[in-house]
Symmetry: C2
Subunit: 719 residues, 2 copies
């Protein structure tokens, strides 16, 4: 029976991938516009390809070495037939593919969206949304495909040694972190550099072809916002799936039947394993159907249309989830309980988007507050944006805490007070949240596509009405980008909590398997090692974990700062040395700027990546599993708020600037506008580099720990 | 025997207070300078007094209500003879007194220091240091006096019900938080407001008498940096003492004699209780003697001289601690173990000061990096300062983690693996760290005194050479202020960890005392409630706790922003409406600006204060002690890094500006200087409002939880 349902999950993944292909060819069949537009889009595509291939060349040998280490130190001792290393290879490969596909589509969609904008808002909106859809469907398709196939191939191994599946998650996380960090540095080095000289010093508008950094800036939107976000959300999807699978395997393996009474039938077969995968498939169907709402006939309020598409997707996914819950759990009450958890996850999507929208859209008080603070200069603007970001952490925390609390107690109540099933229920909610990734990513990628389209309209000098259409879509894109980041942060936090419980159980499984370890940890047979706050190692782990997002961010922000200064100096040099740039008679040297961003992004990757990979291993091997457990939770509890602060604060600065540009408080070129432009410059690396990278950091820490848990626990026996 | 030693601790406190009085009269006997200087100093004193009396009027009724609540809900049910409420009253009263004394001295010292500066560096240095000494000695004197007397009066009650002593800590914390929050808002509203219009718009120098906000700015230095810092460090001292006492009482009460073998003699008498108090007395003697090193004959390198004074104090304190350890523990190995922990605490003081110095002094790379980033404008300056603050969290965390780890394992090893004694040993280290408060505060208060003296020199138009002397001392003061903040943050973190363990033990004492509670928590008799990370309530508590410093900071930064904007508008109005200000023919309306700061500081106190008081109670009563325990640790693990980031980052911005003003990178009035001034403006509320207030927040959360622990645990029985 389980096999059939596993096939159904694979089927869902295949549907997503087929639909992504259909959308891709549909987009490619559209009119590319005039030769100038084709030329610009080509330059951006070349830059983006060059960056990704350089990045992949750096990543490949690292990934191979790690795969070998995993095989030797994990798979061989555990006799898992190379499953962990294989998972790692598959996870990282598919992550790289998802990132590439996303980027390849968006670079192709922008010029066509610019061209479509000449036909009207509906046409441009639909095309940009479908372009984003390629990425969205590719991400969930590859994510679900990898996990489902792995599940089908290694089903019995997973149940016997749940940690093997963590390899898949670690592969996905590692690549996602690389893409997030380097993509984030790339895009903001170019953006900040371009803005500082172009807008602030030379006084030329954004995306002006006279700015030497303009192509690098557009490449950055693609490698950062598209490839980076794609890899990130792919990772969230995979990590959440494997957290759910590991928890399900633990419950199944431990065979709680005797203690759970009426729950017996569920935990002795594989329903708990396949259920989260089917929720993923349900979300895919919902996302495809909801997306049909976006049509060329839409004439106004693109934001409203996107919201309706999201709601339709959510409702359809909910209905499918209900059916799935009914069939998998044979119409029992337990199935309805878990369905209730799934509904919690779906509601979280809608609520967290509203919270982010409130703090980042210029229709509400917070962004207006930031805009008004610009009247007294950049300093008050900085403080206002920063404090708005800080303020946004509270409602976000409330949603997070309620989601954990409610979903946990649903599972706890459904199972007659079983803690693991409570946590599994939280994983189910997270899975339901992430099942909507398809439509969320369509809405998100919409942002960079229209941003790029806007750039092409500007650089190609298209007629005035077109710019108005792309401008309107760009503003919507700014808001959707911000709200999607909140979605990503929230899912990272929920996934990390679920994964921590899996980690904890794995530690105890390993300890129980070895008699020597029991005495080492002062335990008696049958007793579990408790990650209690009364053990100073746990406290120390919490401190170290909480530190990591702060320290990690410092590298990223400094990297952007350093690279941006290089970019500023290069642009200043070109303005000075290449005569005729400002008059438009000479062409700037775009390639030089592209090269600065590329080199900086690759070079600056080393330190933060090493920090993320080495810290959990060093802490685990030196201070033991208790400290490592503390580290994992510590990194989530501080990381999630730092990430919310940065992504929401950054978007608030951005939209405060947009609000002034709409003619408020003196409009463009006024003193408040100058202050707001500076605020936006500061917010850029917050919201597009450091903030989103924290998600990946949290997940890398969790997945690497779970992969190496057996070695860490055994090592503790000898030290 | 214990009684005698308790008297010795009181004796140490009396010595500190007598020495404070001596210094006070010594300072007051110095020459006040010319009538213009007397007039300015008088205006500042009047403003500061007016603020403090308004603030105390607001605090008084709140404190009375809380004392009554504590008496009714805690003392009556626990039959503790009103000890908790009495402690609360004493703690808050002495906190208010310590703040007042500090401020009263510094306002009197500034004009005299300005006058002394006419005689040379050594005279000014010595006077400023002695002025700071009044505050330092008052803080430790009142701190140690309160705790020692309370110990002598309620010795048996403390051993029976250790939580009663937490009232003292809660009183100190609450007032400190009020002073930190409102003082911080006051000082930075004035400072930022004055800078934004004065330096940035009107182009007049700092402390120029033509600036209407200049008196408010000087008042702010006194109420924020002096009264606020005094109450804060007083609080740290008291909270750490009581954490040590509670742990000692728990160990004594539980009478571990049977399990501890050779440790028997120590835990059946009261040595563990009195030992930390004597360490406090040792630090007092060390601080007094070390301070003698600062003499009028010092001609150059004031920073070096202050450092030597600190080292001498530390060495003398260490020697006294060795003697104390020998006598209290009868020359046993256990005594030497604890002495080793005390040494760890003393070393922490020196190391953390070095770390903060590295990140905040312009002699090193980080501040130069911030200064260089100013060349590309305020945005890159802002990013550089922010990332420097983030970067500084890592070495600070390392010191913190090592201090906990080493001091814990010393106690753990000394007692044959007793966890409570391990934690007690951490409290001993913290106590040894804080015993140096006397000299640290002298060095710290030195900062605002010279800052004010500098202002008086400028406003009174004294001769050129004088300004050079006070300028040099002011720059040193900036660094010492920054390093002292690191000391305060570190001690808050260590104290909070110790207090959390006390909280945890108290929870279990309460549960054990009630049979009904055991089954409620699914425990069997003799089993302790574990604050384990596998309980979702603990995880949720960690999230809520970690959120608090972020959310709390947002109120403070917004408050400063709002008040500063008011101030800017007022100053702009006066420049426009009062003719002749800029020519010096008309006097600005200083009082109006003083009033704006005062009103804002009091008004903006409500929300953050309510957040700090209500959250632990709501979480405790609604979600129970497990969630509350998580909250306490969560607030420390994120709060400590946010605080380090803000205080170090803020000081780095400040000194980057100073570095440029010294003639580097274009010097004063250059574009980089303008950018650096803006960075400094942003850093101000970070380092002087939000950052230090987080310390108080952490301690208030801990002390209020311990005071209400019995009610919270009992309430859990009924819900």
């Amino acid at each position: 029976m389980a096999f059939d349902y596993g096939i159904a999950a694979v089927g869902g993944a295949v549907v997503a991938l087929l639909y992504a292909m259909y959308l891709f060819f549909h987009v490619r069949s559209q009119d590319q516009g005039n030769p100038r537009m084709v030329e610009i889009a080509g330059a951006v595509r070349t830059g983006a390809n060059a960056f990704l291939s350089r990045e992949y060349k750096v990543i490949f040998p690292i990934a191979v070495i790690i795969a070998i280490l995993i095989f030797v130190f994990i798979d061989l001792p555990l006799k898992t037939n190379g499953a962990t290393a294989a998972g790692f290879a598959v996870g990282s490969f598919l992550s790289a593919v998802a990132g590439y596909v996303g980027m390849a589509t968006t670079v192709r969609t922008s010029s066509r969206t610019a061209q479509a904008a000449r036909k009207g808002l509906g046409s441009a909106l639909t095309l940009a949304f479908r372009g984003g859809g390629v990425m969205g469907m590719a991400v969930v398709g590859f994510g679900l495909l990898g996990v489902s196939l792995f599940y089908l191939a290694f089903e019995s191994t997973i149940v016997a040694t749940p940690a093997v599946i963590a390899g898949l998650g670690f592969g996905a996380s590692l690549i996602a972190m690389f893409m997030r960090v380097s993509g984030g540095i790339y895009t903001k080095a170019a953006d900040v550099g371009a803005d500082l000289v172009g807008k602030t010093e030379a006084g030329i508008p954004e995306d002006d072809p006279r700015n030497p950094a303009v192509i690098a800036d557009n490449v950055g939107d693609n490698v950062g916002d598209c490839a980076g976000m794609g890899a990130d959300v792919y990772e969230s999807f995979v990590v959440t799936s494997i957290a759910a699978l590991i928890l399900a395997a633990l419950i199944t393996e431990k065979n709680f039947a005797s203690t759970l009474g009426s729950l017996e039938i569920y935990v002795t077969s594989n329903q708990l394993l396949v259920y989260p995968l089917l929720l993923g498939a349900g979300g895919i169907i919902g996302s495809i159907l909801g997306g049909f709402y976006i049509r060329k006939s839409i004439k106004k309020d693109p934001m409203g249309a996107l919201n309706i598409a999201l709601i339709i997707s959510a409702v359809i996914a909910g209905i499918i989830d209900l059916v799935v819950s009914y069939y998998i759990f044979n119409g029992s009450a337990f199935g309805y309980y878990l369905f209730a958890s799934a509904v919690v996850g779906i509601i979280v999507v809608v609520v967290i988007e509203k919270v982010a929208d409130y703090y980042t859209s210029y229709n509400y008080r917070p962004v207006k507050f930031v805009a008004e603070a610009s009247q007294t200069g950049p300093a008050t603007n900085f403080l206002a944006g920063f404090s708005t970001g800080l303020q946004s952490t509270a409602p976000s925390a409330l949603v997070l805490v309620l989601a954990i609390l409610i979903s946990y107690y649903i599972g706890y109540a459904a199972s007659g007070s079983n803690v693991l099933i409570g946590v599994y229920s939280t994983a189910v909610a997270t899975m339901a949240e992430l099942s909507l990734t398809g439509v969320i990513m369509s809405i998100d990628s919409f942002g960079p596509i229209t941003d790029n389209a806007n750039g092409i309209v500007e650089m190609a000098g298209l007629e005035h009405g077109v710019r108005e259409v792309t401008d309107e879509l760009d503003a919507v894109g700014n808001t959707t980008k911000a709200t999607t980041k909140a979605f990503a942060v929230m899912s990272a936090a929920l996934a990390a909590v679920a994964i921590f419980f899996a980690f904890q159980s794995e530690v105890n499984t390993q300890i129980a398997a070895s008699g020597g370890l029991l005495s080492k940890y002062h335990l008696i047979a049958g007793q579990a090692l408790s990650f209690t706050l009364s053990d100073p190692r746990v406290i120390i782990g919490l401190f170290i974990g909480s530190l990591l997002p702060f320290y990690f961010s410092s590298f990223l922000i400094q990297a952007v700062g350093r690279a941006a200064i290089q970019m500023v100096n290069e642009v200043r040099r070109q303005f000075k040395e290449i005569k005729g740039i400002m008059e438009g008679t000479a062409k700037p040297d775009y390639a030089r700027c592209v090269d600065i961003s590329t080199t900086a992004a690759i070079k600056e990757l080393a330190k933060p990546a090493l920090l993320a990979i080495a810290t959990p291993l060093v802490v685990g091997f030196l201070l033991g599993p208790l400290a490592l457990g503390g580290l994992l939770i510590g990194s989530v509890v501080s990381g999630v708020f730092l990430a919310f602060m940065m992504t929401n604060g950054g978007a608030a600065w951005d939209n405060a600037k947009k609000y002034i540009e709409m003619g408020n408080l003196g409009g463009k070129k006024s003193e408040p506008h100058k202050a707001a432009v500076m605020g936006d410059t500061v917010g850029d690396p917050f919201k597009d580099t450091a903030g989103p990278a924290i998600n990946s950091l949290i997940k890398v820490l969790n997945t690497i720990s779970i992969v190496f848990v057996s070695a860490i626990v055994l090592f503790a026996l000898f030290v």
